[in-house]
């Protein structure tokens, strides 16, 4: 059993078996994070370029720790320190990065499809760390890992994803992954933040929060970006909080043992209330811990010497 591609560009197109292989591998690697010496020599001599065109602290630090725990050499490359801001094209920047012969490029980009573009022009493995509002596969994988640890299954599990679905790559990747593994996903948000064309996806869509939360085993709140409010998607943060914020009161509709998730960074008092975020059902900090093991698993599985292009 192995991954069919030597890149991780998105969850769309992956099989349930591939997803489970990543989750099982992450389960084995999680133990390293609990050791006194949190390092194994597995990827010694491999070079990873963390190419983050869009700002990110959490995802980048998580990748960096994953790389370091596997003994890979990590190089951080961000627009502030690159010629990217001086008008160099993505292709030229990447060709320059490639001349340093990395084994992996982890890319975060504002444009959907940027990692796919790279994968066509590079010899190394490309890992998508978030491209525009398209996909964020490692976030979906760490969410699934966290869900599996708490619920032990996906089949018929009721998952409510609440918030800015329109602009959320986290929501997209999660829908692909969770439905692939047999969960029942409900997407919920203000009508202005629910994209058209969701009918093609195998999930329920509603703008009524109480309907979405009814009997949910997993409640996932998404970050509301203030910029969206300025664009007129909803009148005020206060109104959003009142209508869609996950509060203790609202959670009563969910299953008694429901867990609450958030990909971070949180706006306390907007998409989630402080007491829920810190409450006993919240697994938000576990998600951060699990992110490292899941990213280690992805690096480990993609690092095999697959014959070039044969498997892509």
């Amino acid at each position: 059993m192995r991954l069919r591609s030597r890149h991780l560009l998105g969850i769309d197109g992956m099989s349930a078996a591939e997803i489970e292989l990543i989750l099982d591998t992450a389960e084995s690697l999680a133990e390293i994070g609990r050791r006194e010496i949190k390092k194994v020599p597995t990827l010694r001599g491999k070079t990873v370029v963390n190419f983050f065109v869009e700002p990110s602290t959490r995802t980048r630090s998580s990748f960096e720790l994953a790389e370091k725990r596997l003994s890979a050499d990590a190089l951080n490359f961000s627009p502030a320190m690159s010629s990217f801001s001086k008008g160099e094209t993505l292709r030229d920047t990447v060709r320059n990065l490639e001349s340093m012969s990395p084994d992996f490029i982890v890319i975060r980009h504002t444009q959907a499809g940027a990692p796919h573009f790279l994968s066509r022009h590079c010899d190394c493995s490309i890992i998508n760390a978030g491209d525009g509002s398209h996909e964020h596969p490692t976030q979906a994988l760490l969410d699934a890992f966290t869900i599996r640890r708490h619920k032990g299954r996906f089949r018929s599990l009721r998952v409510a994803i609440v918030g800015d679905i329109l602009n959320s790559r986290v929501a997209r990747s999660n829908v692909f992954l969770l439905t692939c593994l047999g969960a029942e996903v409900t997407l919920c948000g203000p009508p202005t933040l629910l994209p058209k064309g969701l009918e093609g996806l195998d999930c329920r869509v509603t703008h009524r929060i109480d309907e979405a939360l009814e009997g949910a085993d997993v409640v996932m709140a998404l970050r509301i970006q203030v910029e969206r409010m300025r664009s007129g998607a909803f009148p005020s943060l206060r109104e959003y909080a009142a209508l869609y914020g996950i509060s203790r009161e609202r959670l009563r509709r969910a299953a008694p043992d429901a867990i609450v998730m958030h990909p971070g960074p949180m706006n306390r008092g907007v998409e989630i209330t402080g007491d829920v975020a810190d409450g006993e059902r919240s697994v938000i900090l576990e998600q951060v811990t699990n992110g490292i093991a899941v990213r280690m698993a992805v690096l480990y599985l993609l690092a095999g010497e697959v014959p070039r292009e044969a498997a892509a």
């Binding site: 390092k39 194994v40 597995t42 698993a297 480990y300 690092a303 095999g304 010497e305």
Partner: protein
């Protein structure tokens, strides 16, 4: 010109061998540290668990038993196409200061044991590490030897030693499978 396979150990002799190794482990003098067994996945683990029960039957107390996956420590990771499936490393006792007996099914090049030693010392500083194997088939590529050997079995490199265990394969036996077409001597080729 078919592949020949010769039975080396059957279920009863595997059991007798483990009883003998259990006695040897208990009789071995040296450090008075706590004993812990560590089985190398996949087939070292059930062997370690069986050894633990044999030791308990003789000495009364069952030593703690852990599992070690050595894949993260292999020296050939950069040259194999598909990274092996990773299983859990789980050592439920304090490694620092313990007398650890590593358990594996077959000792061959010694590279697995080298990886296991690296893996173990990453988890702590044992007082002593010993090695128990069911079959030693020779052809070492590293300066490694076993402290407890079930059976010494001279082999050719083209041959394969197949260990099957109840817990993994549904039955207990050790086979020597010859290279296609090669003529093998019968059983009893051990030293």
């Amino acid at each position: 010109m078919s592949t020949r396979s010769v039975s080396i150990l059957d279920a009863a002799s595997i059991d007798r061998t483990l009883v003998r190794i259990a006695h040897e482990i208990l009789e071995s003098s040296g450090v008075a540290a706590r004993l812990g067994l560590v089985g190398i996945r996949t087939r070292g683990l059930p062997l370690a668990l069986r050894l633990g029960r044999k030791i308990a039957a003789i000495a009364g107390a069952e030593p703690p038993c852990g599992a070690l996956d050595i894949n993260l420590y292999r020296d050939d990771l950069s040259s194999i196409a598909d990274h092996p499936i990773l299983r859990k490393t789980d050592i439920p006792f304090e490694v620092d200061g313990a007398r650890i007996v590593l358990v594996d099914d077959v000792l061959y090049t010694g590279r697995t044991i080298r990886a296991a030693l690296d893996g173990l010392v990453d988890l702590g500083r044992p007082a002593r590490i010993e090695l128990a194997v069911l079959v030693d088939r020779g052809h070492r590529e590293l300066p490694i030897r076993a402290d407890y050997v079930g059976k010494n079995l001279p082999t050719a490199r083209e041959e394969r030693v197949e260990v099957r265990l109840q817990e993994v394969d549904g039955r207990d036996e050790v086979l020597l499978v010859g290279a296609p077409g090669s003529e093998r001597r019968g059983p009893g080729g051990g030293e």
